[in-house]
Symmetry: C2
Subunit: 369 residues, 2 copies
Amino acid sequence: MEYHDKLGLSREKFEEISEYLHENSYEGRAYRHLPGYRKSVEKGTVLIDDTVVRGFPKIPRCLVLDAGIPQQFDESIAVEEKLNGYNVRVARIEGDVLGFTRSGIVCPFTTHKVRSLLPVDRFFDHHPDRMLCGEMIGPENPYTVEECYDVDSIAFRAFDIRDHVSGEPLPVLDRREICEEFDIPQTELFGTYEPAEAVESTPEIVRELDAERREGIVMQTLSGSQQLKYTTSAANQGDLAFAFTFPFDYGREFSFRRLIREGFQSVEFEESASRRRERAHGLGESLLLPMTESIEQIESGERIGEQHTVRAEPRVVDALLEHFRDQGLTISIETDRRIEGERLLTFTKRIQRTNDKTEAYLNGTIVKE
Amino acid sequence: MEYHDKLGLSREKFEEISEYLHENSYEGRAYRHLPGYRKSVEKGTVLIDDTVVRGFPKIPRCLVLDAGIPQQFDESIAVEEKLNGYNVRVARIEGDVLGFTRSGIVCPFTTHKVRSLLPVDRFFDHHPDRMLCGEMIGPENPYTVEECYDVDSIAFRAFDIRDHVSGEPLPVLDRREICEEFDIPQTELFGTYEPAEAVESTPEIVRELDAERREGIVMQTLSGSQQLKYTTSAANQGDLAFAFTFPFDYGREFSFRRLIREGFQSVEFEESASRRRERAHGLGESLLLPMTESIEQIESGERIGEQHTVRAEPRVVDALLEHFRDQGLTISIETDRRIEGERLLTFTKRIQRTNDKTEAYLNGTIVKE
């Protein structure tokens, strides 16, 4: 079977998509992946060793639970926690367990971590055609920074098991049972509900998650066929704070969408004037404080960047740094220590535009706008 | 002399620009105007009765006074108030005094107001080739809403006198003297400074304007050849509040730029942590409160729009409404009263996207983003 058959595409359609595939390799093994959104194939889809690792589908979102849930669902749904980390797919390809990031890149660090954190051999012996989808969370990871979970370094939480070629999901409760059976940590299930019940129950779940600064919920039919997500104010404001740490590097769209979400949530939650004002203050702080901090750092002569910490065997950290270099990222090492045979590395990914633009404005650059 | 000569353009360049000119007429008199920004000719430039009314130049802006002022100027500058209203140019064309808006449209309301508010006959008898440039401010005007000035209905404040064909400005102090001589109200002059002095003095001027919720300052060389503007936090936040009353109708760029200005100002003004937090809270309120108010109005079944009030002779108000209809605007009348022979009309300009999008999200529309 050829790739286009596995992807369910005509040969012509596949040719079209092929133009957008990037070539890459991992430990000498070549693969191609689709880093961006296309209509006919999921972002992050990988072609490797004559098989496919299907991209994780984009989960649609509603801005209003009350109306969005009945709009999207007319059968029972499971409500689970949406975690704030980075999305990985784990699959066994020709005997090797690999960890793929959202855009379809084999990440050496992730690959190492999932192999050591999860019972991958046992799982893939039983489920050779499946991929395990989940979130890598915790403070020591190379892609995101989120401190709200009770995780010291880094951990995996499963939220899906899918056929790695077709992307077809297992039903939610079957998937949860399998994770249980294999001792694979998984995202929290808040319950299964009829749509009308979910409309009643989800606001309270969201409020509780928000109070712990957690990200939100994913709702889906029990078959996993239809999904819907919704995020907390903490997540919206956290994203804004991140974006405004690097204001010239993050899209206006990115920030605008999160501002809008805050507006609809405040209305749906029927906030009192004082509660709404509190949200507004949090919103303003999430924009202004990171931005001014960055401007001040640049003013004082520093360059700002995205800082991350990772902890792993030295060879894994080396592989990660090489991987970043291959991707064209500029990394500077902040601290580098050995602790109990592991390397604890804090590094900064260089970002360009915010440094350049901010410096220019600080130097008096005139704007014609 | 042909138009291209008057504009200082080659015939070919003029042909190019001609494509972007819009045709229009005022009381049976045809004219063409340039509504958008082009490289070779100022936005708002008008071709009428074989003469030109040059567009008002876009004033460049700095984000940091301390660095921007010396960057832009190496000679004495005048610092005057930047007013928050709408920009008009007044010129006498073939014996008729006309009021042009920023984009070069003859506005019947503005034309009427400048004729009745200003000693136009006497002024143009002495300065037939000049145009009087200024801001229309006050609560009763059809384009902007700003209540911070001590103006009951609407008033004119001069900030420039230019040759209406070439756009060449009069020196600042000459212009101020002429306004004085003709009793033409003008924008406030805070002083003339060397650039280094201006760096010292302008932050305090801006702070005082901000405390009165006024807009900002325009700095320029005494000859008027080089200009630079800078706005208060009140203006930035006021613009944001306006934009987030109609979040889907105003550009992301528009809002982003104002957020950025707040960041640079907070840093330049070396705000204490508590003062900065206060600014952040104001910022958040200017985004969230108007947005939630709009969402709630739409949720309750109303349509939102931009509301304005005008007061004038009945025939002038009629002409304004017809003018808006000609421009394709949908206007609904809110209240319509007669007071001492004048018509006091409150109307709403319909806006589309925010109503449509908000309604869709309230109805559960799913976002794939």
